[in-house]
Amino acid sequence: MVENIKFSNKYNFAFIDESTKKEIRRKLLKAVAIPGHQVPYSSPEMPISRGWGTGGLHITLALIGRSDVFKIIDQGSDASVNACNLREFVNAMTGCETTFDTSKATLVQTRHRITEEELNENQIIVFQVPLPEPLRMVERYEYKTLQMHAEADYSKMWVSLYEAYVRYGAIMQGSGYPVMVNGRYIMSPSPIPRWDTPNLHQAKTLFLFGAGREKRLYAVPPYTDVEPLEFEDVNFEIEDFSKSACYKTGFKKAFLDELYADDGSQKYVISDSNFLDKIDSEEETHQYTNKYIDQLEAYDVERG
């Protein structure tokens, strides 16, 4: 990567050539026009392997402008290997300012989380998606899933939720919980935890999803209905962290990572590293609110 900085002036701005960027942007417009619908795209070669965030990177590089402020997180953390490498790459190829601060960023790329801090109308968040097809777990043939989406025939998906409930007494899907977008398409919201899923609903931000290996783009435009699939009597639930708290800050009302010590004991820490810093230094932040958090009344947002 260091060598690439030396030769960066030999690459086009943001690495991808302009006509390919144009193609990706056109496909993104189509994705925004049909919320939740997967749009095939070219998925050009990148200097990282497929499966390491190429889909997200394609979108980021197709959209980024010289004045953008870029933030990238991996499972909530700004400092993990995947995030660091991609941040350096984007910085080397564009010269754009990068930041850890969620509120300062204009373009956020993420792997498997939505930021804990609420994003606004001027921000775009880009997801790296490993498996874009929500129906893959019930239907292995691509031509059949295409037909099921085209005809909105989602009975198999519902039966698999029924089966999960019958077998385990609850719908156990831990991440990538399937959602119904705009009352039409079932979408896999990339493997974000259930905690984040309600934050897609009527959000202020544009959500863009890129799956490089599978060559698919999709989007949730701002202020779009996104409902997790649930039965009338078996409802979607988010993770309940009311019995645990962040060991650094004592904060409970956030998605917590589980840490294991050598002696087998476990403790919890806020998954979103920038949010953790802000809580720790008592900076002002504005979290997402949704009815599922409200339902878990046990939350004590006071520190301690």
């Binding site: 198999k156 039966v159 029924y162 019958v166 039965f231 009338e232 009597d233």
Partner: protein, 282 residues
């Protein structure tokens, strides 16, 4: 049950299925008169041609014929498993029978299949998803008809399995762990889950041993008495036809050669092929 002319439930006219490209004389050169389904000019296969009949509410119609006579093709086209080549069908409960259901979009066809029809195949693997539990299979039908309450779905599945004499404590087991007769009964439960007015039975007892056959036939007859469901029973077995049906169509080489009341056909067959069929009955 009134037998008025316009009281039909399902009306089928000139239903035709041809594989390959038919020529001008394809229909004229095939059929029972030539004892072949294959057109000598074009080699296209006439699976069935010019099938017309009316089915009345609560009536049980038998379609009998040797293998290759096109009897399964007829019900598979009516259940939208196969695309028709020609012909039309109308179903009374769907838009008051004004729309040819064979020309509808896939979504509408799925609606008709889920809400107004049921199908029991010879092989339970065609009608059931072996990756889901038997309760899940029934749930699929109920969910497709818009039932989104797990408690209600399970209650209904429980009733259906009880009605079809499947041990209800095995509701959450996969059909792969069931015996053939039980699989067939689960398939019947699934087919009637939404109380459809019309049920297709395609060789349901073929491949089951004789005592299980008798129990499945008993069950079908009981359900018919209880629910008053109209049925089209496809079988090569005249004893099944005799036991279940009111009226029978005899098919050979893709054509109807004789139709009438079942008793009449069995007692006094007119067409040479029907006579052969009846005389070969054990």
């Amino acid at each position: 049950m009134t037998w008025k002319e316009d009281n039909w439930l399902l009306r089928v006219r000139n239903l035709t299925k041809i594989y390959g490209d038919p020529g001008e004389n394809t229909l004229a050169l095939t059929g029972p008169a030539f004892n072949t389904n294959q057109c000598p000019d074009t080699d296209s296969i006439v699976a069935c041609a010019d099938i017309s009949f009316d089915l009345y509410p609560g009536e049980v119609l038998g379609i009998v014929g040797e293998s290759g006579s096109g009897k399964s093709t007829v019900v598979k086209m009516l259940y939208f498993d196969l695309e028709k080549t020609g012909g039309a069908a109308w179903l009374k409960p769907y838009n008051d029978g004004c729309i040819n259901i064979l020309e509808e979009s896939n979504q509408r066809k799925r609606y008709i299949r889920n809400n107004l029809m049921g199908m029991v195949y010879q092989n339970p693997r065609d009608g059931l998803n072996f990756g889901f539990s038997s309760g899940g299979n029934i749930a699929e039908k109920l969910i497709m008809a818009g039932n989104m309450h797990v408690g209600n779905i399970r209650g209904r599945a429980y009733d259906l399995l009880e009605k079809t004499e499947v041990p209800v404590q095995r509701m959450d087991d996969r059909p792969g762990t069931f015996s053939g007769g039980m699989q067939q009964r689960v398939q019947i439960s699934k087919a009637i889950a939404n109380n459809p007015p019309l049920l297709f039975l395609d060789e349901v007892t073929t491949g089951l041993d004789v005592s299980v056959q008798a129990r499945v036939l008993d069950l079908i007859r009981e359900l018919q008495n209880m629910l008053g469901i109209a049925m089209i029973v496809v079988s090569h077995d005249l004893s099944v036809i005799r036991m279940l049906t009111d009226r029978t169509i005899v098919m050979k080489n893709g054509r109807i050669v004789e139709s009438g009341l079942t008793d009449q056909i069995l007692q006094d067959p007119q067409h040479a092929y029907s006579q052969l069929l009846v005389s070969s009955l054990l």
